[in-house]
Symmetry: C2
Subunit: 332 residues, 2 copies
DNA sequence: CTGAAAGCGCTTACAG
DNA sequence: CTGAAAGCGCTTACAG
């Protein structure tokens, strides 16, 4: 598996490696004669030359690699983001490294270190609780980073997110107008700011109405079981209730509970779920959900990162996108 | 963003870069005095040294990078595989590059080239129709590769797959014993060998029984629409029918059709679907499905690749795993 | 129009 | 026990 190098081309074509390099990079400035150019190109094709980007990276201190860290690449939400990031990155000449940290700050730190050692030009990060140290280290090194989906309370970084607070507020308002006796907010027991935003937005709107809001908060490791247990404890079918699931995983867990217990939507209970997933379409009732503009967000994150890479600026633009409430039939 | 190098450590510690390198790589053979060792380690920590793996890669001709090419990382099936591959790769010291080719051989070729230029140590590939040229080129260069999920008709490569033919045959046999009037096989109009195996296994078993098998084959770009249309044309509810969906995407499209048209399972029609996905759990009936041992497959693929990397062998072991038929309530 | 040379940050025989 | 030196495959001023 010995690969041809420009040295080989140079030797066979009877020119210097410098000339080969110039030709292969088709630099305009330095005029190389048509003849030697053609010869070099011919030889290069003959011996099946492929450039060694690692050598180039070392010389240029640019790897054209970017790293993406998400909670879990097998989660629909993140794999969709990853796909859009991949496409955009590709378009801009970057190759994508992907890592999952499972909400674990140690893994997160390991991944940033790994990526940094691999000399990625920048990273797109979905920070987790406790990842501040790892991120601060990157910031100190002036490493280009962009956050996605989530953001940090104490560190001002360029990032891409949605209007979590407002969309929750708005949906809650919508529900209040339908005169529910009870609203149930299903969320995570977490300190992640963007999730708290969802919760607070909902709360704030509900507060001034006087309607009871029950809150179900689960850990991240036994979502299905915890959601089932807590819905069983808290869902009172004698009241006119609407459940708000604040993530796709929670939504899926909740819908599964309803299916398993033969609870009809929206006859027995109404619901709204966050994020879009194919799964919602197999539920007997068309689920009303909140759609994030993932593609645009992904695209923007790569653009922000690229501009960071090309000229580092400490303080970042945060791009806030608007989520869309897609109303279907699960709220009555 | 100027990073410290071993040169910096050497200068500050007053030793040579060779010594630094030895210490940092804790080579047993070369005994370095405790004192200089400690000093080097101390300095290294102080100036926040992180190794430049690109330089190391260049010197060692090993990048500790592996590339994964799948059809689409946003597809549940592949994102689950990717996740397991990531975990195993990580464990073995590799970092993962991921690319999606959308069943497009040109994109596939571009990705292999890109990965090869980035000097990945090896690739895990889910080949697509028309990717033989790209793969042959890699084989000629003796590039370590392993196929996953899919395999190639004309090239014998190490790879990981399931017993597609047999599992289909077995399920068909199971269905025949339930005395259906009609079986519908839903698949792709494709030349991918592993999918044809699924089809042929089903056919072979059905043939000798005399039961009618209708075949619905769709393209890969409008799965939902095509499945809907064809089910509408072919599903005869007056007969006792069972539908066999040969992939998760087809299954989801089909289940959605049934939901949309209020066709009850298994009262009006029975079904079996390939692959597991959260979505199946939101369907009103518990869907019987075929489960692939993705984790084991992913793990094995990384192991096969690693052993390729460490000692290249042309002809490959193919590891065939057994899929499992998980029977629930969708077949009557 | 073309080449010799330095250097990116490492590793590793080899010599002492 | 430690260091000088070569070299991995590139790029790029600089000189001619």
């Amino acid at each position: 598996m010995k690969r041809a190098s420009i040295k080989d081309i140079a030797r066979i074509a009877g020119v210097s490696v410098a000339t080969v390099s110039y030709v292969l990079n088709k630099k305009e400035g330095s005029r190389i004669s048509e003849a030697t150019r053609d010869k070099i190109l011919k030889v290069s094709k003959e011996i099946n030359y492929t450039p060694n980007k690692i050598a180039k990276s070392l010389k240029m201190s640019k790897s054209k690699l970017i790293g993406l860290i998400v909670a879990d690449i097998s989660n629909d939400f993140y794999s969709n983001i990853a796909r859009s990031i991949e496409d955009e990155a590709m378009k801009m000449g970057y190759t994508l490294l992907i890592g999952s940290c499972d909400e674990n700050p140690e893994k997160f730190g390991k991944l940033t270190e790994l990526f940094s050692e691999q000399q990625v030009d920048g990273m797109i990060l979905a920070p987790v609780t406790g990842s501040d140290d790892a991120i601060n280290r990157l910031v100190r090194e002036e490493y280009p980073i962009v956050t996605i989906d989530r953001y940090l309370q104490n560190i001002d970084l360029p990032g891409v997110m949605i209007n979590n607070f407002e969309i929750s507020e708005q949906i809650c308002g919508h529900l209040l107008r339908k005169n529910f006796d009870e609203l149930i907010y299903v969320g995570y027991d977490t300190e992640l700011p963007h999730l708290l935003d969802r919760q607070y937005g909902f709360d704030k709107c509900a507060e001034k109405s006087g309607v009871t809001v029950k809150r179900i908060l689960t850990g991240i490791h036994n979502i299905t079981e915890e959601v089932h247990q807590q819905l069983q404890d808290n869902l009172d079918l004698s009241k006119k209730t609407c459940i708000y699931f604040s993530s796709n995983k929670l939504g899926i867990a909740g819908l599964r509970y309803l299916i398993d217990n033969n609870i009809k939507v929206p006859e027995n209970v109404s619901l709204v779920a966050f994020d879009e997933t194919e799964a919602y379409y197999l539920f007997p009732t068309e689920v009303s959900f909140v759609r994030q503009p993932l593609e645009e967000m992904a695209r923007e994150s790569v653009k922000l990162l690229d501009s960071q890479i090309n000229s580092y600026t400490q303080q970042g633009k945060r791009a806030t996108f608007h989520a869309e409430f897609v109303e279907r039939n699960s709220v009555e």
